[in-house]
Structures are given as C-alpha cells and as structure tokens.
Subunit: 255 residues, 2 copies
C-alpha cells in the first residue's frame, strides 16, 4: 500500500514525498521512458491526498523535465532524445563532398533529416552584424533550417553570410551542392583559417520551444560560430540545440 510511505508529519511536504516516490520509480526504470504514470485519481486514492496535492507532485517532476501530461490520455515519462556528439574536429573531417552535419550524423550512426525553413535575403541581426563587420542595417543571405534525429527536432540553426560572398551563388539556394556552403566558399578561393565558437545555456524562448517541440523546463545550448577564411569572417551560424540531445567536445592544445 503506497500510502504507508507517506508521512504527513514529516518535514518534507506531502507533495514532495509523492514526487520523490515517483521519481524513484522513473530512475529505477520501474516506470520506463514513454511509460504511463498512475493517473491523478489513482494518486488521490493511493496516497489519500487531494487532487491539488497529487497534481503538485506531478508538477515537480514536470519542472525537473522527467514527465509530461497528455490531455485526456494521462501522464508519461519523457523519452530522452538520441544524443549527438559534436567533436571539435567536425570541420576538419568535412571531406568527400559532405557537409559537416552529414559527416557528424554518420559518425554517430543516426537517422537524420533537415527541414529548410528559409533561405534568402534578409536583415542581419545586431550580434551577427558586429561579428561579420557589417553595418547594422546591412542585408545578408540567411539560411535557416531545422535538424531532426530519428524524427525528433534537436537543432535550429541560422546562418548569416555577407551578400558579396553568397548572393547569386549556390550558397543562396536551398541545395548548395556537394560539401555544403563551405565548399562553395572554397570554390571562390577562400581558405578557411578557424572557427570561433561561443557557447551558452539557457531556457528557451517560447518560439524556440515551439520549433524544437521542447516541453517546459528543458534547457537549450546556444552556440554561435564565426567562420573565418582568408582573413575575414565569412559566416556567422547561430545554433539553438535541445540540450538533452547534445554533448560538445573540444580538444585544446596546451601550448
């Protein structure tokens, strides 16, 4: 009888005790990913609490990112997205006419897909303008796409490329050809020198949560990469990733 494990006189509030019990069952896999939790009414009956208290216990687990509710169906343990490992040599490995993302996903043996959301001209945002050395009101080629792994959206990326490099070239087209946009820049004679990456983590905006179909209480990794070739910044790529789906690797030489 589960209610025997609840101590109303405890310092720990009843809703937290119920959350602890459910969390334990999730961690022990007694409730596996995708599995259904007891309904609110059965929690009310089992633990002899009000419905508000039962829901409060569940909301603790929502905040921890462990469970989600489906209206009319029930409460379920969240499935973890497949993890993608991004190595710092992912651009060095860009070979054989394949884009970095493709190389990376093949290295991880994952089924993947790309949604093209927008490709064309647009105004450059302030941060990217500064990094590209452009005026605040400049136009650039914008490439916005969403990456999916095994059907789940995991990454939302926007590239900004100066018009003098991209306009009228395959870089401004949905299909930029073998090797991706970096290969097209190399075709133009650009020699890549380095990629500067800036990483933060935060909670997603409402729009980001919608695009990545993130439940509440799941953070994102935000990576802004500036590609530098032949002495000038040639691309700023702003990437928002479902944090649960990524591990980033960097190897730094000591000297």
């Amino acid at each position: 009888m589960p209610s025997s494990r609840i101590d109303p006189a405890s310092d720990r509030s009843v809703y937290r005790q119920i959350a602890d019990i459910l969390r334990g069952k999730i961690e022990s896999r007694e409730l596996p990913p995708g599995g259904q939790l007891p309904s609110e009414s059965s929690i009310v009956a089992d633990y002899e609490v009000s419905r508000v208290t039962a829901r409060r216990a569940l909301s603790v687990l929502v905040t921890e990112g462990l469970v989600t509710a489906e209206h009319g169906r029930g409460w379920f343990v969240r499935r973890q997205p497949p993890v993608r490992r991004l190595s710092s040599d992912r651009f060095a490995r860009r070979k054989e006419g394949k884009a970095a993302f493709t190389v990376d996903m093949e290295a991880n043996k994952r089924a993947f897909a790309v949604d093209v959301l927008y490709i064309g001209r647009g105004a450059v945002p302030a941060g990217a303008a500064e990094k590209l050395g452009l005026d605040a009101d400049a136009e650039v080629i914008i490439r916005r796409r969403r990456y999916l792994a095994e059907g789940q959206p995991i990454e939302y990326a926007t590239s900004y490329i100066p018009l003098d490099i991209a306009d009228g070239t395959p870089i401004a087209e949905p299909n930029s050809g073998p090797g991706g946009i970096y290969a097209r820049m190399e075709d133009q004679g650009f020699v890549f020198e380095r990629y500067d990456e800036e990483i933060t983590a935060r909670m997603p905006s409402e729009e980001e949560a919608r695009i990545l179909t993130l439940p509440v209480a799941t953070p994102v990794l935000h990576l802004v990469r500036t590609a530098v070739a032949s002495g000038r910044p040639v691309e700023v790529c702003d990437t928002v990733m479902d944090a649960a789906a990524f591990v980033l690797f960097y190897s730094l030489p000591a000297r």
Copy 2:
C-alpha cells in the same frame, strides 16, 4: 485598474494572462531586477481571482526563471549573476604563478572568492576512473571547491588526480602553491599536451541547486575536462556552472 486587462472568456487561461502582464512589467523594467512583485493578496484583489490562481501565475514565472519567492518577505524579480567569459586559451595564459581561475577572473575584472569544500583521498567516480585509466575501486586525491563571483556562487568543481601523482605533495593540500596544481605537476616533470573538454547542459540536481543556491528552473553547464600531460591523463576536473553566469569561448583551427 489591472483587472480590466483580464478576460475570463479568453482562450488563454486567467493565470497565463496574469503571468503575461507581470512578465511584461519585468521585461519593460517597470519591475527591475531585485524589485518586489505585488503580493499574492494584492493580485487576488486586483485581478479578482482566487489565491491558487494568483500563485499559479507566479509559478509560471518561476519556471521561466524570472522570479523567486522569499518566505515571509514577498516575490522578487531575479537578479542576473555577473557573466564570466571562459576563453579556450585560459590555460595557455596560465602564467606568472597564477592558477587559471585567477587569471581568468582578473581578465574579467571581477571580485571573486573560492570556498574549499573538501581536499583529500576518496573513491574515484566511474566516469573519472575511465578517463584516468584507473580501476573502478581506485582511490584518488579529490579537490572539491566552490567559486563565487561578487558574492554569488557560480561554479562547483571537483578534481580527481591519481594518487601516484598527488599523494603526499602540495596537490593534496588546500593550498597547492603558486600556479596551482598544474604548476606542481610541471615541477614533477610533466609536460602538458592538451585539455579535452566535454560540455553538456541540463537541469541541476537538488544537491547542485543547493550548493550553487540556484532557484528552480535554472540550467547548469556541465564541463568535464581531462588534462593530458606527458602522454597520460593526469587530472579529471568535473565542473558544474550556473549557466546564466558563463559564456564559453573556443577557437578551432580549420586544419
């Protein structure tokens, strides 16, 4: 009269409408960081809702990381912690007898402090054992400390160093001497080759939230660094950071 802005017949629930209004005041700085929100009872009066609904509105803002409650005092807009920028050359800059953290904080012109939480022998955790090439039941020297910037805890770091390197040396002492533990390893003849870093972001555990005094719904950056010197891993450093307090920089050569 604020209640005029609430439409009970709207598709958007009452508690979300109240949360929207309060969020707007926070974003517009009408309610500045550190400022006090209206009390629950005044929300009840102003918007003519029950206390449960008022609290639900506030809990939305808690989940978004915008506000916190202080028992007996009221609801307050969260202060953002000072941001610390971590460059990928932070170890290369380790010079003049100063530890990396010190160099880094001075470069950022921040007041900082270090709490030493534990220094001594202990069992190596599984992940660190694998990275160090040790048996799962091996003992290591553990250095656990907490870093504060301008009084706020922002980082919680634990280093694991094999006994044959650290035991009986200043590395196993609270004060490891000028230049920190890496300088002591260099004294022993180790030549540093590289630092491998593995970055993830996630919600903190309850313990991590307590140590970093994080409110709920604020993510952490988790960085695991393996230092490699003279052909062997000499330290694994596991760092949990308040994500709001950090920007990580990496510069990757293209070839």
